[in-house]
Structure formats: structure tokens, C-alpha cells
Symmetry: D2
Subunit: 283 residues, 4 copies
Amino acid sequence: MQSYFYEYVAIYQMASLLRSSKTVSVSARMATSSKRLAIILGVGLGSGTGASTARIFARAGYSVAVAGRQQQGLDKVVQDITKQGGEARAWPVNDYSEASLQSLFRSIREDSPDVPVRFALYNGGLWQMGNFLSLSASDLSATFDQAVLPAWVFGQEAIKAFQGSADTNDNSARGTLIFTGASAALRGSANFAAFAIGKFSIRALSQSLAREFCPQGIHVAHSIVDGIIVTDRLRPAGKAKHEEDPTQLLNPDSIAKSYLYLAGQDRSCFTQELDLRPGQEKF
Amino acid sequence: MQSYFYEYVAIYQMASLLRSSKTVSVSARMATSSKRLAIILGVGLGSGTGASTARIFARAGYSVAVAGRQQQGLDKVVQDITKQGGEARAWPVNDYSEASLQSLFRSIREDSPDVPVRFALYNGGLWQMGNFLSLSASDLSATFDQAVLPAWVFGQEAIKAFQGSADTNDNSARGTLIFTGASAALRGSANFAAFAIGKFSIRALSQSLAREFCPQGIHVAHSIVDGIIVTDRLRPAGKAKHEEDPTQLLNPDSIAKSYLYLAGQDRSCFTQELDLRPGQEKF
Amino acid sequence: MQSYFYEYVAIYQMASLLRSSKTVSVSARMATSSKRLAIILGVGLGSGTGASTARIFARAGYSVAVAGRQQQGLDKVVQDITKQGGEARAWPVNDYSEASLQSLFRSIREDSPDVPVRFALYNGGLWQMGNFLSLSASDLSATFDQAVLPAWVFGQEAIKAFQGSADTNDNSARGTLIFTGASAALRGSANFAAFAIGKFSIRALSQSLAREFCPQGIHVAHSIVDGIIVTDRLRPAGKAKHEEDPTQLLNPDSIAKSYLYLAGQDRSCFTQELDLRPGQEKF
Amino acid sequence: MQSYFYEYVAIYQMASLLRSSKTVSVSARMATSSKRLAIILGVGLGSGTGASTARIFARAGYSVAVAGRQQQGLDKVVQDITKQGGEARAWPVNDYSEASLQSLFRSIREDSPDVPVRFALYNGGLWQMGNFLSLSASDLSATFDQAVLPAWVFGQEAIKAFQGSADTNDNSARGTLIFTGASAALRGSANFAAFAIGKFSIRALSQSLAREFCPQGIHVAHSIVDGIIVTDRLRPAGKAKHEEDPTQLLNPDSIAKSYLYLAGQDRSCFTQELDLRPGQEKF
């Protein structure tokens, strides 16, 4: 049933692509040939938001470039997608430095120069907790180096990739750049000073970019993920809980579907920010 | 091409419905038979957000109850939907009083007692502008009577209708209640005191209801519409401008699609608030 | 020691008054003669925010008009102030209707037509709690009639009173209008739909008025009171707790001092909103 | 008249100090002897917010440690304060690195180990503007190194200094830590991505610290400075404009007075955030 669902998502997206073209006769097959690229940074071990986004965008007809530091996670995602007839390629990076990320985009673009880049997801971050006086300045630097700076560089490269791709001829976005955020972007909690600085920063960045680039047809959005996401890393008890009651934890596929929806928004109606939260989550 | 698009939306929604059912063999025809009802209050003259939502939900397979004060608008929407093979019925109301809205829901439920109510849109409001000292207490009362109180009563009736319908057996929402909001819900501007009170109130209501009812699988969301919506009422110059550059004004169909997306969110991942804005809008 | 404190507050305010006057030779006595009026609506039984504000503004040299529905509370406040050499008069109102509040301001102005009105505090509200479906439309109307509409009318009358008073000749505000708000103005909680609507509304109003009237030198501010205020109504256990640990509950005198500070802000530096919270309060 | 004003501010603060002491007979002289230290980082050339705060806290009886990178600015502030009978000492720093700021606090504490530290102002920042693609990763690093990291280290050192000082025996704050913020802390504007990241970060930090340390009686606040501040750097036209119409630009003395008010708040009533804005400022 699941694969059945994804076909429809693909068709839905294709329909969106074709919305304003009035003369073309279409078939489901054509959707595959009108290629477009999605670049996703941060897939961990292959079972969270980044991985789900890769799979769901692949099903929707995107060719997916999956980037991250863990080869194992990249391989898992690419295998899943390929097995189901989708297109994906793994792009391992050693780190999230400016040089590495610039090199990543250069390589991806050289690999398929004619495929327009239409989607980019920054899904990085660094979990940090601890009372304020126990955290050092280098803990804060780690947040900056591993969460904020990579988001900045990724944003620059993504926007240049969108601008370097042929524009769409309907009213769909020239490209959609999403930053996965968190409720810590709205609230600096006790014992989360460094974490909150990272999340606030990414929200600040997403707003600045939306205000600068939306007028050019480039969609920039920020999600407020408010809850625990079900991943393989989650201890089995947590996952079982989700199986029993899916209103307590976030399904990463559902987050990914929100990103697919955002990527399908046309230029008359962009969303800059939305929250995503299990029904049972206190907020 | 447009009708082609809507079929896909319908299939997308159906797929969503069937997501977790594992044994059923499906066809597109079945979607129509697994009926569900959408109730929409406020369609004006039939060319704005409420009307678009009615049309798009009808295409997605919902049976639509369209309610409002202007018979002309209701008729237009119902005709459009019927012509395209959808199901809709007009429910004129004399006013937005408690009694009228309670009677409306009673009548709708009696009309199709076995069809579960899964969606409700409150699309009312009252535009008011004027410097503060020129507005009277009765201007403020008008906002309360025509915008806030109706939202309250509509919310109560919608939630009772969701609770009175059979629950879903997958993880989809038992019902989705959306309030159309505006940027005035976030900011009280000069000369918009009464208008801002109305919009802030509806946002307050939507948050309270989300916190009370999301744990029961009832999704409550609020949209921040930030820009001018293209309607028939818009002076021709405005509409022409939109035809030339669709990044300056909001297409009500695009707003409606966001509502369809929200209605499709599953219980592990609800959005309480999202903004909707043309690419060119300053914010 | 307390009365000693208040003298200094009075001098502080006087100094503020005299800030930019360069030729006048002053004495503490003069402060009393350069009269100005503070109008305070909502003093309950005489032990909360409204009552504290009345006392503290009286000590700071304002002549205070204390208005409310409970004669007992008004009398208590006036006696306290008079006993300490301050000036105050009770203005009972039957209700918070438009007519009553307009009549209140007319009477106050007729009583001392030559004293400029420089401060007005709206301290009304209506506590309401209950699950949404148990509250009726008339519960919501009560919020509107007893909290929102009175704030609106009070705001209009206060601004007209400021405009009808001679302007200041230094850079101090022509008048300061404060609305006592609450954390429910920022967050609609479960079971507090009506209450949140009231508090969001007052925040909306305060923002609109600030944006409309601050350019005229009229200061409009909103406080976010986030915590339980120590009043006589509080059960003895609560008050004892406060005596032992004053970081758990709000001292109304401290709230009042924040209002005195706001009233002293000059036109180059107005605060529209500030939060007030005990050190121990979770937020 | 101005110096007259400051005396009253000093008395006001002293009264605040003495609020809950019930047996002591006091005189204005005593205020001077009950010393307490204010540490201010960032005074530029001696005419902005940091400098005004130093002067106003000195008048209110604080001994002031003025730190910054520009000797000229430090000297100016110290001379002003000394000339008027206040106590101040300049603490030049080469840079805002972790080592420099830790050394600064160590030196200040060694200089007057018995004087409790009661106030600390972080007034740093880095103005950056430019379209996003023209800014490099090193521009962002500059924001981090010169604005965010120093705020973090300053916050740690200030809190340790408060904790290392004898507690107050009334209900006044053990120490007050203020971060000067800006409207860019609430809104990421086009062409201000790096600047917004810096300001959002400082807001995140201030919230985390407030939630962690307010329960200990340590007050942490953040100001939203929304407007242009009158400084010597401001071109004469701007300053003349302020002389003519003080509702268009922020007077740094008025900002400083808000900080003095915040420092005087007792533990039952702390403000975490307030905005400061000229009457004419659009917002």
C-alpha cells in the first residue's frame, strides 16, 4: 500500500509541475523524464527526517543527491530508493566545513549539469545539553561550526544552484530551500543555551533568506519540529510506543511529506514557517 | 489540465486515507464511496478562499456543505462542483448567530447522518479600518458578533461533529478544523484596532482548541494569510496584475491546497500554524 | 522605611518632570503643586495591582482617581492614600459599560478640569476556565463585555483625556496608558479559550494604540503578568509562602513600580511590552 | 538640572536597597558606603548605551568597571564619572576572546574582592549588512567571534561573579545581567543574515540564562532596542534632528535608565525582555 501511496505523490507533484502548461499531453512516464534534483544534507544512519525526505522526494520523481558524513546511512538510503526504482546517489562529506560543502555542490552540479536543482534540505544540527557554567566556549564553537556555519554555506550553495538552473516556466518555485528547525528556535530553555543559539540562528537565517530570495521565486522555509522523531536510534521502547500510539512521536515520513508539500507551493503562496508536532505533544 | 490536476489531488487524498489499511484492494472508484464531509462557512460571492476550498475538497472526494449568507455565492460554488462531478450542497444562513450556526450543523448532520464529518473551515471575518477615536464601541461589537462569536460557535459545533462521527481506523485525523487568519493576528496596526482584536481572538481560540483537542486526534490549525487574495471583488487592475505576475497576490486555490494538505496530516505530525504569502509580499 | 522609599519615588518622578526645564529653581514641595492625575480602573478589594498602583502613584505625587465596582475596595485604597498624605478620590461605577465609563471620565474631568491627566491604567479582566464544550457563547460574551469592551472604551476615554490636557513642556509623555495583561495574551491554553481571547484582544488593542498614538507623545504599554499575584484574596497558605519566599509569587507593589517606571519614560524611549514574573516561575 | 536628577536616582536606588531592612537608621551618605560593582562591556567612543549606563549607574551609587577595546572611550567615561564624584575604573581589553574576558573578570575581582558584583551589561555586537551571496563564511565567523562568543563568555563570568559575591539580605536581585539586543533579534531581514544570527543568538542566550538562573535570584534580561541611538558617531544632522524632535531617535541615557530600573527589580518581579523605541519609530 505504501508504494501505491508514493506513486500518487509522484503524480501529484507531476501534476503540480504541469499545472500551467496548457498544450502538453502528459503521461505518468513523462514525469520521470522531466528531471529535477533534490539535494539533502544530513541523513544520519538513514532512518530519520533526512532519509525520509530523500525517499519521499525520490518517489515523487526527484533525482536525489544524499549527502552526509556517515557512509552507512547514505548507502542505506540510496539502496532503498534504487530498489524501488527511484534515482539517488550518495555524496559522502568528511565534515561540514565551508570547503567541503562548496566542493559537494560543485561535484553534484558537475555530475548532472543539465538537471535543474529544485530542492535543498539542510537537516544538520548538534544536540547539546548541560548547565550553562559546565559548557565551555568550545562547546559553543562546536554548535557554530557544526550547525550554524554549515547551514549558512549550504544556504549559499543551494541558492546559487537554484539561480544557476533554468527557471521553471509555470508558477512553481525556482527552488525550495528548507531548514529543519525545532521548538528550541522559539524558546531558550534552561540547560540548552548552546542548542538554542544554534536553532535560533538557523531560524534567523531562514527568515533573512526568505525575505531576500522569495521575490525571485526561490522559496525558503523553516520547520519547527516539536517532539521526538522515531528513528532507529530511538530505543526500541520508544519505537514500540509509536507503533501502539502514533500520536506521541513524530513519524519522519510525515515530516518529509510536509517538505514535499512545501516544495509544491507555487509563487503566489509560500509558507515561511510551520510547526510539526504529534497530537499528544504538550506545547 | 486543471481538472487533471484535481484528479490527482483526489487520488493523493485517497491514498492518504488508505495509508495504513493493509488488506484492502483499492481502486479510484472506492475513494468516492468512502464518503466524508467537509463543512465550509464563508464563501462570499464564490471566488475567494472559502469557495476555492470547497472546490478543491470536492475534487479530493469530500462531500462539501457550503454555508454562508449570500445565496448567489453558495449557488455558484455548488454549480461549479456539481458540473465537475463532485458533491456539494448549499446551506444558506441568515446570520452568524449562535442559534443559526447550531441549526446549520444540526441540519447538515440530519441530512447525511452516516457520513463522517472530517473537515471544517471557518472563513468568516469582518474588515474594519479607521482611526481609533472614530470607531465606536458598536464597531467593536460588530467585530465580536460577526467574527469572534461565530468562530467560537463554529468551533464548538465542528468539534462536536467530529466527535459524533465514527473515528478513522488509520492514523489520519478524526477531523480537521481550520480557521483562516491573517497577519493582523500577529500585529495590531495603527487604524486596525477592531480588526486586530478579531484576528488575535481567532488565533487565541485556535491555539486553545489545538491544545485541548489534538490529543484526541482532532487537528486544529490556523493560517496566517499575509497578502491580498485574488477574488472577483478585486478591481480588474489587481487581477490583471496577478495574471502577469502571480508572485504579488495570493491565489485562493493555493490557499485551499494548503488546507487540503493540512487535512491530510496524520496524527503523528500536526501543524498548528502556517503563514501563506506571495513571493513579492514584504514582511 | 517603606514611606521613606516612597518619598524618594516621588522625588524621582519630580526630577523626571523637571528634567529639561533649565531655569526653574525647585524644591520637593513644588512637586505636589505641579499636579497631574492618574486614573486607575479596577482595584478589586484593594490589595492587588490596581490598588498598589494607586498607592505608588499617589506617593510619587499624582492625584489619583480610583475607579471600580466594589465600594469597599475603593474606600480602602483612598483611605490608605489619604492617611499618608496623598491625594485620591473614589469613583464607583455600576458596571463597565460604555455609558458608565464615558460618564466616569466626564465626571473625573469636571471634578478637576485644570489638572492634566497623565496616566491611565486598565486593570480589568475576567477569569474564566473550563473545557471548551462546557463554555457557552454567553460565557464568551461575558469576556467580551467585561474585559474587552471596557478596555476599548477606557482606552478611548484615556486618550481623549490625554489629548484634552495641556501638553508637557519637557520630553515626558503626554500621557501613559497601560493595560495589565497576562501570559495568556501570548498563548491560548487548553481550557482557557475565553480567557485567552480576552487577553489576546487586549494585547492587540495595546499594539494598535501604541502604533497610532506614540508618535503623538502618548505612551501605550502592555504588561505580561506571568505568575500569581499576592492579594488578600489569596488563601493564607499562598501568602505565607510569599512571606517566606518572595521569589514564588508576584508582589503587586513591584508590578506597580514597573508602571511608575513606564510612566516616567521619555518620548525618545518608550516600552510597548514587558513581562513581569517571579524568579521561581517556570516559563 | 541633570545632576540634580541623578542624585535622586541614587537615592531611589539606595531606597530600593534598604527596602526590607527594618531597623537601620539611614542617611544618604550610607548609600555610598554600601558599595556594589557594575561591570559594563562595550562603551565604544564613550557616547552610546554602554557609556550612558556607566554614568547613570555611577550616579546611582555603583562603583563602575568600564571595559572595552577603545582606550579613548574608556577614558572619557571614567573622567566624566570621576568629575561628578562617582567611582569608575577603565579596564581595556585587547579583544573579546574567551581568554581576554576571563582575565578581565579575574582582574576586576582581584581589584575589589570585597565589593559584591551586582550588575553586568553586555553591550557588544557587530554591525553587518550585505546581500547574502556577497557575505562569506568568514563574515559569519566574525559575527560569532565578535558578538556571540563574547556574550557567552561574559555571561558565564558575570554569573560566576554574582554567585561569588555575598547574597543580598533583602529581596533585591543577587545580580542583574543585561544583554543589549535589537529588533533584529525578532526578525531576520533581507541583507542582514549575519547580523540577525548574532542578535537572535544573544536573545536565545538571555532566555536560557533567565530560565536557569532567575530561580537563584539572578536576574537576566534582554532589551530590544528598536531605533537609532544618538551617539557622537551619528552625523551632526542626526543629532540636530534629535535636539529638535527627541521622538525620532533613542537617547542612550533613556536606555540606561531602563537598565537601572531593571537592576532595581526585586525577586518577586523580574522582566526578561522589554522593547525600547522612540515615539516616532515605525514598528
